[in-house]
Every structure is written in C-alpha cells, then in structure tokens.
C-alpha cells in the first residue's frame, strides 16, 4: 500500500531494523511515528531502549510544570509500552526524586531490564527501591545522587558488567559486597565518595575509575585490570592518616595488576602512591603498560619522583608519557638530592618504545630538568617531547631552554617542542 508516488519503502522492514532506526531517534520523535500510518501505530511501542533527556518534553519557564509533564510523559509511555525494555536511561536535571520513579523501577524490574541509568536533579537523593535488586538481568547500572541500600539477602547481580556510582550514599561494606558479588563485573566507576576505605575484589575487572576522597584503596583481587584512572582528593586528616601508615600504598594499589595497559592519575594520586615504604625494585613488570599519565606530580617531593621513576622503569613497552607538575615557584636556595638520579637511573635503562612525551606545568626545578634529561637519554625511538612551561615562571623559561639544549638525545628523530603562550 502506498500513495501515487510509489510503494511504501519502509513499513515492511523487519522489526529489528525498525527498532534499530527508532532507537537512534530522540524518544519524542520515535513516539511521534505512531501517527504516520496504521502500520506505524505501535511500532515504537516495542522498542527496547528508552532514553529520556532534557528535550523529551517541551520546555517552559516554570520548573514545576516541566517536571510534572516529564513525569506524566514517562509514566504514560511505560504504560503504552509492550514487551521487554532492555535499556532505560533518564538524564534530566530538573527531575527530582518523586514516588513515580519507584513505580517505573518496579515496572522495569518486571520487564527484563538490562541497562539502567538514573541521573536526576540536584535535590534530595533518590532512594532506590528494593525491587531494583530483583533485576536479575541487569548488566549495567549507573546511578547519580541516589541512596542505595542492598537488602541483607542480596546475592549480587550475576550479570552485571558495568557499575557506575556517582555521589551515591551507600555504606562501604555494601559497596564491597556489591562489587565482590558481581562476578562478571568488568567496569567500575566510583565518584565522590567521602573518605572511602575500599578493598576491591573483582576477578574480572578491567576498567577502574575512581574519583573522590579515598582513605584507603586496596586492589585485592583484580588481576585482569587493564585501565586505571584515579582522581584523588585529600583532606588534611586523610593526609595525616597517611603519614602514620607504614604499608606501601604503591604495592597495595598497583601490586596486583600485571596486565595494566593505561594508568591515569590526577591531583593527589601520585602522592597517595608515594606514601609508605619504598617498594624498592618493583616485583612486578607492567608488560602491557603503554600509556602513563600522571598529573600534579610534585617535583619537590622525592618520594613522588621515585614513584614516577619506578613506574617508568617497570614498563618496558611504554609508548606515551604525560606528566604535569604542581611545584610552586622554586626557591633557588634549595639543594636537591641530585645524585639520586645517578643512583637510580643506570645508563643501561632503555625505554625502547617511548615515542611521545608531554610535560606540562614545568617550572624548571632541578628535578624536572633531571627527569627530562633522563628521558631524552634513554629513549632511542622518541619522536616528540612537548614541554609546556608553567605560566607563572616566565623568567625561568630561558634558563630551562638553555639547559634543555645541552641534553644528550638518544633518538635522532626527537623533536623538542617548547610551547610558549
């Protein structure tokens, strides 16, 4: 059936294709297809992915009205929906916690939900109803600003592969339990937890993302970890607690991840790793570690520098290195422990795969220069080294450059790019 121009191009395609198309439309447009023709009336109603964002209802100046209309919209849509719902995502900043959301989750728990993303507004945290823990097929869970309280009888999500908790109120025991009871967990992301002391046991974990104030993190059983990214904030009392700790944080954190491919650290991460006893020559070699990015490294703290060095020298296949400093304007009178470099870095050390180095926020402190010297001398295939000096130290830049040109380069191809604003 069709009009004079030609036969219907699209209505007889299999439902899997129709779903494939409708799922790539904003939810409003997908629902609007129901008025196209009689065949299209309910095609939208069996799509398995429902994604709601700020644009799914008309905006208006009154926040309450918009909020009410979005709640109505979602409730009605769910009521008209037929069949399983595999993905349900709400990312709406003006939607606050309300009782209807409990009903939606209950509905989803009866419809084979596999991926659930709930990002509500900045109001009262939404308390996740217990029916969520009955979602046996859940494979991805992302919660923002919620309260999560697994019941005592909860045995874990057996299919969960990805967990992302951002500003979620949950007891440390509950998180540990949740993590260790999800045997297939591959990706874990925890953000904005306060003073969390966590021991992570996840034999299948591959991707770890942490951000917040962590008192103590221990990667107990994560042999398959491939990517780690940590942004660690520190309060004064956590710092104090660390001073007293004797255990080696480096080993506690990076001791059991031989398959690591990418490591990213921000803010106090390097400091965190530096706390505790010096591990000495590391018992572990990171054969696959190709990218290291450490930000806000303090080049006035010997222990932090040591962490950086240990990492670099234990990664024979390192390809890309990014370091950013956080030194204050150097006081020239300090006589740093420069012979440390001769001791630790033998001339035999070769970073035979290192191609790209980027150093940011460099102030020209002696240890920074020594690091650059070491890298240049040990990287036979180095292609680019970019140095971006710290914006506050205009005077020292010339001094830095003068020293740079003196350094011996192991790679004939190496280009040093000194970026001046």
């Amino acid at each position: 059936m069709g009009d004079a121009l030609g036969s219907d191009l699209i209505s007889d395609l299999p439902q899997s294709i129709v779903e494939s198309i409708l799922v790539r439309l904003p939810i409003r447009d997908a629902v609007k297809t129901s008025i196209l023709s009689s065949k299209w009336r309910y095609k939208w109603a069996s799509i398995t992915q429902l994604v709601f964002d700020e644009k799914c209802v008309d905006s208006c100046s009154d926040r309450d009205v918009v909020e009410k209309s979005v709640v109505k919209f979602i409730t009605r849509l769910l009521f008209l929906h037929q069949g399983p719902i595999h993905k349900f995502q709400i990312t709406i900043s003006y939607l606050q916690s309300c009782p209807e959301i409990d009903q939606w989750i209950l509905f989803l728990s009866r419809n084979d939900i596999k991926e659930l993303v709930l990002e509500l507004g900045e109001g009262e945290f939404f308390r996740i109803p217990s029916c969520l823990f009955n979602c046996k097929k859940l494979s991805r869970l992302e919660l923002f600003r919620c309260e999560l309280d697994p019941p005592l009888s909860f045995k874990g999500f057996l299919c969960l592969r990805s967990l992302n908790l951002h500003q979620v109120l949950i007891s440390p025991d509950a998180i540990e339990g949740l993590i260790s009871n999800c045997p297939l967990l591959e990706s874990l992301s925890l953000s904005y937890f306060d003073s969390l002391a966590l021991s992570i046991r996840a034999p299948n974990l591959k991707y770890l993302y942490l951000e917040g104030e962590f008192r103590d993190i221990c990667l107990d059983d994560t042999p398959l970890l491939v990517e780690i990214s940590v942004a660690m904030y520190m309060t004064d009392d956590i710092a104090e607690h660390f001073e007293q700790s004797a255990s080696c944080n480096f080993l506690k954190f990076l001791g059991g991840v031989p398959n690591l491919e990418r490591l990213v650290g921000h803010i106090y991460f390097t400091k965190y790793l530096s706390i505790g006893n010096d591990p000495g020559c590391l018992p572990i070699i990171y054969k696959n570690l190709e990218i290291i990015e450490l930000n806000q490294v303090s080049f006035e703290d010997m222990k932090e520098i040591l962490v950086v060095l240990r990492l670099i020298t234990s990664s024979p296949n390192l390809k890309e290195l990014q370091i950013s400093g956080s030194s204050n304007i150097p006081s020239a009178t300090d006589a740093p422990d420069l012979d440390f470099w001769e001791k630790e870095c033998s001339s035999k050390c070769r970073l035979s795969h290192l191609r790209v180095v980027q150093l940011t926020d460099m102030c020209g402190v002696p240890h920074e220069m020594e690091l650059i010297k070491f890298l240049l001398a040990s990287s036979p295939v180095l292609e680019t080294m970019s140095i971006i000096p710290c914006v506050y130290v205009v005077e020292s830049q010339l001094k830095m450059l003068t020293e740079l040109v003196k350094f011996r380069r192991a790679s004939a191809k190496a280009e040093i790019v000194f970026v001046r604003e």
Binding site: D3, D8, P14, I17, S37, R41
Partner: protein, 354 residues
C-alpha cells in the same frame, strides 16, 4: 593467458566466490570481500558452496544485483585491516549518500546478509532523515499511506494536559465517526457501481429483515443492542445536558448524537465545562460496547423488536434529514461526506446506525 604466465601469477591471484541473486544472475566476487558478510561466510563454512558457477551461493531475496554491488563496495573497503578509524568514517559518510529508496533497500539487504555494521550505518542515516521532520514530510519521503483517522491520531502522549475524560470521549466519538465513515464509503461504492449496488442493497434489506450469518448483521445487531442499552442509560449518563438545544435528537442513533456532542464540546467552552460534570465512570461501559467484544446472539423476538425500532428511527431520520445535515456540519470541518438524499430508507438506516 598461457599456463606459464598463470603459474607465475599464482601468488597474486585471489580466490573467488560465486554468488547468485534472486533474479538468477550470477557473479564472481573476491573471497575476502564476500566473506566479510557473515551470512555468506557461514554458508561457505556449512555447505561448502560458492566455489564454482554451478554451485553459486543463493543470496536472500532482499538482495538485488545493484544493491549487491553497493554492499560489495562496502565490504571491499572495510575488510582491509589497514584503514584508520577516521578513514572508515569518511568512507561511510560518503557511502551513505544515496536516495531514500536505495537506503531502505540497502538496509534490508544488509540485514538479510547479517552485515551488522552496515545495518547500523544505514539505520543511523534513516534516523537522521526522520528526525525533525513533520509527519507529512516523513510520509512523503517514505511513501507512507495516511490511513489513520483523526481519532487514531489523538496520540495519548501529546495531549498531556487534557482532562482524561474529555479525551476518552473524543476517542469514543472519533471511533464512531470512523465506523460511520467506513459504512458511508461502502455505501458510496455501492452507488458508483451499479450491479454491486443492487446486491448490497439487497443485503442490507435482508439483514434488516433478520437474515443470519452476515458479519454486517452481527455488527448492526450489536449496534442495535448498544442503542438499546444506551437508551436505558440515557438518564443516568445525562448526556442530555449537553444537548439541551437539540432535544429532538434524543432518540437519534448514537452516532449522530455523538457528532453534536463533539461539536458542542469543540464549539463552546461552556458546554465543555458541562461535560466535566459527567460522572467519571460513565464512559467505561460504552467503551466495552464499542469495542464490540460482546457476544451478541439475539433471539428472534428481540430481533423483531429491534427491527421495528430501526424502522422508527429510519422514518424520523428521513423527516428531519435536511435539518440534521445542518446540525452535523456545524462547527469544525468534518471529514464526513453528507449522506446522499436519494438513497432509500434501509441504506440510510444502516449508515445512521453505524
């Protein structure tokens, strides 16, 4: 080519797979390229076909030769492992530029060959075409028939702030209108084609007189029954409130009644507010009736009574017809075609009852 030169060339020679499209034409395709399609790959593995012309692999019906050419172009590019992601993206963007009809055929063919990356690519392109367009534009692009009635277009999700009872009422009446329209269409067809006309009029006459085994009869009977019940409920439902000006239409079949109510609703807000007073449960029984799921096996006595009533209505209809037409066409534009005046009583009854 001589044997010797063939032998020299051997390291560069690729193996070929033979593919047959639904129209019978057979072509030769490089093996690497063809195997990029999971369906072909599996076919080769399972059955070993494709190695020669006589044993060419039959491709699914949705793959015609020109579309196959496009698909093979896609495969030929993407099966090369050396291309960067950026290059692949650029290729895809250019590849996708074709008219909508071809795009739909391509999607269908790629799906039947289980070539998921291409299905994703074409789906994305089709979604981009649909996004942001008005329904009319979408219908035009894809040649979709505009075969939904107004009633069906009353998308529940669009009228978010309406009173639910009003919408339910609208839906009800719209459905009745639709039935009416369909019956009219039937009737109009009757008029246009003479021989058919006779037959259908006979049919109508016969079922009015109580013939069995006719679907129309069943629905007409249901309608009659509905009217009976509705008459009984009329006082409870207080629909008369709405039609205070049209009291002579009280006993008119429900369909016409509806139009007036509908008009009233749309034309004047005051009447609108009157319907707000209607008790909330008033419409659910009606819904049941109209969905017509009731089992309406009438016994003969009942039938005769109904027939008599029908004839009464018919007479009334005939007498008030011009006036009624005016009332019907009041207010907003109606999609209804006015019932022609020269038809006989029985047909009018039929449509009136719809």
């Amino acid at each position: 080519m001589s044997e010797a030169s063939m032998a020299v060339m051997k390291p560069e020679m690729k193996s070929y797979i033979w593919l047959k499209t639904v129209d019978g034409s057979i072509q030769q395709v490089e093996q690497d390229v063809a195997m990029f399609c999971p369906m072909i790959f599996q076919e080769i593995l399972k059955t070993g076909m494709g190695s020669s012309k006589t044993y060419a692999i039959s491709l699914p019906q949705r793959v015609n030769p020109s579309i196959l050419g496009l698909i093979l172009d896609y495969c030929r590019f993407h099966q090369v492992p050396g291309h960067s992601n950026k290059e692949r993206k650029t290729f895809d963007e250019k590849f996708i530029r074709m008219d909508t009809k071809k795009l739909c055929e391509l999607t269908s063919a790629a799906d039947s060959l289980q070539l998921k990356p291409l299905v994703d690519l074409t789906s994305r392109a089709l979604a981009r075409i649909i996004e942001g367009k008005t329904p009319e534009e979408i219908r035009e692009t894809f040649h979709l028939p505009d075969d939904l009635t107004e009633e069906e277009k009353l998308e529940p999700l669009r009228n978010v702030t309406d009173d639910p009872r009003i919408r339910l009422l609208n839906r009800l009446y719209a459905r009745k209108r639709k039935e009416l329209k369909e019956k009219k269409k039937l009737k109009n067809v009757d008029i246009e084609e003479e021989p058919k006309d006779e037959r259908s009029v006979d049919d109508l006459l016969s079922f009015i007189n109580g013939a069995d085994g006719d679907i129309k009869e069943m629905s007409a009977n249901k309608n009659k029954k509905k009217n009976r019940r509705r008459k009984g409920h009329a006082k409870d439902l207080s629909l008369e409130n709405v039609n205070e000006n049209k009291r002579e239409l009280d006993s008119v079949p429900f369909a016409c009644h509806n139009h007036n109510v509908d008009n009233a609703l749309k034309a004047s807000p005051s009447k609108h507010s009157q319907t707000q007073d209607l008790p909330p449960m008033s419409f659910s029984p009606k819904l049941e009736f109209i969905d017509g799921d009731l089992d309406d096996e009438l016994d003969p006595a009942m039938k005769e009574e109904l027939d008599r009533e029908v004839e009464d209505f018919a007479r009334r209809l005939n007498s008030d017809w011009p006036e009624r037409m005016q009332i019907l066409s009041l207010g907003q534009d109606r999609r209804l075609v006015p019932i022609s005046m020269n038809s006989n009583v029985s047909t009018r009854i039929f449509t009136g009852m719809g």
